[in-house]
Symmetry: D2
């Protein structure tokens, strides 16, 4: 079928390539006309403007936006200007599902359908396919089924879930109509919230392994930090690169994120050069806020988010407050980084707390 793509960054362009490879007809537009030309050279129909794009589409038109979340609102408005009742606008970017709910409501009178698609797959999506979480009206989503099926990974060689038989369902092909407008990005949001939690579980565990040699290190604790009490049990020099490779085979925690961890540690076993300032995009935050709104306890998902905040120093004032209190109640001075064990005389006083 025919699909228009607005936004030809890495993901937009790769989705177009995946579609064309499967025989779909793509009309493409980007403010960067070089990007348009590049895909036109690969077989797409280029457009010089959004109006031009619309004019090159058969009805019902389907226009997929793959653009930065901050721009989506205004581009939806521009696209809606040149579309008609029965046409479909697809937001395949990283929008907050609340914006989908609002945009769908706003478009309702025009008869233009709004479909939100959460898209997971990363740089591997071109080959591996993209996992698609779709929200919108039944009619519009049904119309898009051929392109969704192409963009998604398909059943592949993944072992079928026990109990599932017969024809493959959409979810087994890697796309799912999750509900009305917003449902797609809602599910994608939670997906990313889970992703943060899994990443943190792996990272924390590897950090424990990395410190299994604590008993081999001498004199690195000061009187203000609890000394290692049983150093004989922390004498292991664990190779985390090898362990993460090992766990890929037959272990309960084998996973794609573990695959990536193993790859990263194979390339850079000590992770030299990484400062450990971990970014977060909106989904992890929105997941925690949705959980708070609906009264769902998510200590793991929230902790993983807060660890990222702290990794960027956002815990600094809180830590200063703690140091300030300790200074007040016990005269505890802060330790300089790398301070060594002091004579014990000071320790008795800390009984004061």
């Amino acid at each position: 079928m025919q699909l228009a793509m607005v936004g030809l960054g890495r993901m937009g362009a790769n989705i177009v390539r995946r579609l064309m490879k499967d025989g779909h007809d793509c009309v493409v537009y980007d403010v960067n006309q070089d990007a348009v030309a590049a895909l036109a050279a690969e077989g797409a129909t280029g457009a010089s403007s959004i109006a031009d794009l619309a004019s090159k589409l058969q009805k019902p038109r389907a226009v997929w936006l793959m653009i930065p979340a901050g721009l989506t609102g205004s581009v939806v408005d521009q696209v809606a200007e040149v579309l008609e009742a029965g046409d479909i606008i697809i937001d395949g970017g990283n929008s907050n599902y609340r914006d989908d709910v609002r945009r769908a409501a706003k478009l309702q009178d025009t008869g233009i359908h709004y479909v939100d698609i959460g898209t997971s797959g990363g740089v591997f999506g071109l080959e591996r396919g993209y996992c698609l979480m779709v929200g919108g009206h039944d009619e519009a989503v049904a119309h898009l089924e051929p392109v969704l099926r192409t963009i998604a990974p398909g059943p592949g060689d993944i072992e079928r879930t026990p109990g599932r038989t017969g024809d493959y369902t959409p979810e087994e092909r890697g796309y799912l109509h999750c509900g009305p407008s917003g449902a797609g990005h809602f599910v994608k949001m939670v997906h990313n919230g889970i992703e943060y939690g899994i990443m943190a579980a792996l990272a924390e565990g590897l950090n424990v392994l990395n410190n299994a040699d604590a008993g081999l290190k001498q004199g690195e604790h000061s009187a203000e930090v609890a000394p290692l009490e049983e150093p004989e049990f922390y004498q292991f020099d664990i190779d985390t690169a090898k362990v993460s490779e090992l766990w890929r085979r037959g272990s309960v925690i084998s996973s794609w994120l573990l695959d990536l961890t193993a790859a990263a540690l194979a390339q850079n076993p000590t992770l030299d050069g990484l400062a450990g300032r971990v970014s977060d995009s909106g989904e992890g935050r929105w997941t925690v806020k949705a959980a708070v709104d609906t009264g769902v306890p998510v200590p793991v998902l929230a902790s993983s988010l807060f660890e990222r905040f702290a990794s960027r120093g956002e815990d600094h004032f809180a830590n200063q407050v703690l140091s300030a209190m300790r200074l007040q109640f016990g005269g505890h001075q802060e330790l300089p980084a790398g301070d060594v064990l002091e004579a014990g005389g000071k320790k008795a006083d800390s009984s004061s707390s």
Copy 2:
């Protein structure tokens, strides 16, 4: 090569079967002689006692114990009685790595080697192979290499980690000599700690999805519970069974634990009949304690453990204390389960807190 197995429960028996299928010679013992007879019928050499077992082995003898952790200490002692310097005792069960450290030290004078092997793989291990995390002296571990290679999954059809070339390393075959005695169970311990975290991330996320319909439910909140503020954003009736199946394809969080989740939800989409009292075995606890000992922050791993405690009602007294405080400072009565929204008049008073 030849290996003796003591303890013919599901895992012990399956490891023996996997070994025999690959041509190894197995001598087996269990207090349950029916279990011995069953495996003898499949080709193993049965033993009637531990002494009998030792007599049927060539030196250096290798005796693998696959027995409940609570019994391991005394069986190690019994086996050590009938072995000699250069022989090897393997603990493949769920021991605390600290017991390994102690047992290895205790055996040192006898010249008997002690090898601890953390084993992951569950009920799928017979076919899929077991991920083996090994601790012990180089010499002993080297001697066991042929059986480790058989028990482990091997490279299989798992995509090779980018950057790895040449012959497959042991970790790519699914077994790894992690360090001296205790290192195997230490790595297995952390593996399980991570497992708890990943499981919790998935469970919390699915719980958020499961409550995405909060805005569709009427009158279920009382004056003492914060009402849903923007019900228009929680109107989704998400099918968690379909979503977990979907995420198996192309998503960042695809993992074996997700596969199991999808299987569980495919069989029982509402999870009827499960009370949600979640057990924990020692490894998750030991991981948190090791992290505390070595000063490693593990909020995600610890939270996942505490959620299990709470699922069994171990938070009860704490919650009573909270209710008691609330009753003191604001006259807030506890809400009965399922209480409905009361007239707002009471709410103003809660400003008192």
Copy 3:
């Protein structure tokens, strides 16, 4: 000075009483005219309607609303109808500070001032005074200073903070102009967020004390739950009522919430009759959401909120998911409540995870 009070629930009425005791002139209104009559009998001027109330006030009128948060919006509108430029509407209830920001903006054209006051003090406020966190324009807040000073606790016999000298500042008298509209409820919101955290710290700690006798209890753990490893260290039968009383004297954690805990446990040492279903009002949730918005790590505040959610069973589906996964990977059956230690044979198999 003169102040009007709309909403004569416990807090509204007590503030009026505190004001009259200090010589202020109060005009009062409530939909419940009995409440109006009661306060009129104590010296207040009763009003039969909001319009009547307005007519009985000198300009600039100051009208304090002490009503359920859900009603505040519409009552603000009604009161604004009968006021004029220069008059002041005060919201002393539990509003979300975001509503203050919106309401102040909405009133801007009318010239009516909007002042939000977060009020802490509970049932003890009548005697002890109320801690007042105030947001709004300088001019309006300055006009209210006489009543704020009366309602607040004053310096009392609380030891002065070292380094503070000279006249008492407003904050030392128990009220503070925190910033523009919304700032008062923002500070109150965070206050309550902290309150949740402190309450949880006390509750968790007392729960640890309450389980210090774990080693004295026999056979209460099953094979699926990690058994107590060193029962000799958990042989204490601690009296939490006495301990909480003890800590009130000279300890670092002495606090008003501890006072309440000691009072609750003195009355009901076993907390019989409390189900431990802990409510939450909006502030704890809003605090976590504000922290997430601004990238501030708040693991303690969030955990204390999530514990309340879990106390009401909101973790149920997540726990079912965990049990379902365990059933899949290891054949682990859930434990019935109160299950006892099984023979060890089953434990070995749990090595499979």
Copy 4:
């Protein structure tokens, strides 16, 4: 009565002073003979050795050790050498309660009593008195009652807990016999665990206040960090020094730790010069480990401990692992500290996760 003090650091010396002021007879010893001379000048009886100390005491002798936890074991042994059946050794330091259990067992055959006393009060104890948590045999603790009563704060002017009448109980005087040997330090351990939680609740909350101006700051977020979505709600410039002073009066969270916070912020409102590297002594760790052992969920107490670990950079490797994974799956580069908002084009690609 007569008491011997071994260890004349700040706390030991101040306890002696408090005892002498109340008429008790103190015999004192320290390896630092200047400290002995100083207290002798104030009226104590100095001793030149532990043997000399013992010789100057009437039976049953009571010897209080106030020394660094790391030295306590050997000093207990030395003191036991010169004591006799019926004498009492008191450990008033910061010992792990497990050491108390072990030491009491070891001394059992000698007939020497071992009493452990957890002591809270900090630098204010000399004037304010020390909160004493006592473990040991009834007989020995009863013998010490006169000195415990003196060292403790007494009922003071703290409002009596409602429901308590008649003579003041020991816990109302500030000391409590909590149970057998170890119970004192166990209760003190949990006290400090709670302290960590309360401190963290205050610190996190103040950090939220400190970031209430996030909407006023421009261009400080990059494409890889979720931008502030509703800056209009974060326009407050809150004075945390004033707010912490305010909350001391009439608020629900008034507490001694808040008093200290207010004092610290009064002296240094921006906390300049504090690096925010927060130390931890053993009690917070032991509390979490005891909770894990006994299956008690303590997410708040554990989170507060982990925040301290992270404040010292112990989360570094975990954060590097997270950055490494992000680099793998989405090509996300780490952000340099202080990076500014990039053009939006990059953001679309982050949809890949």
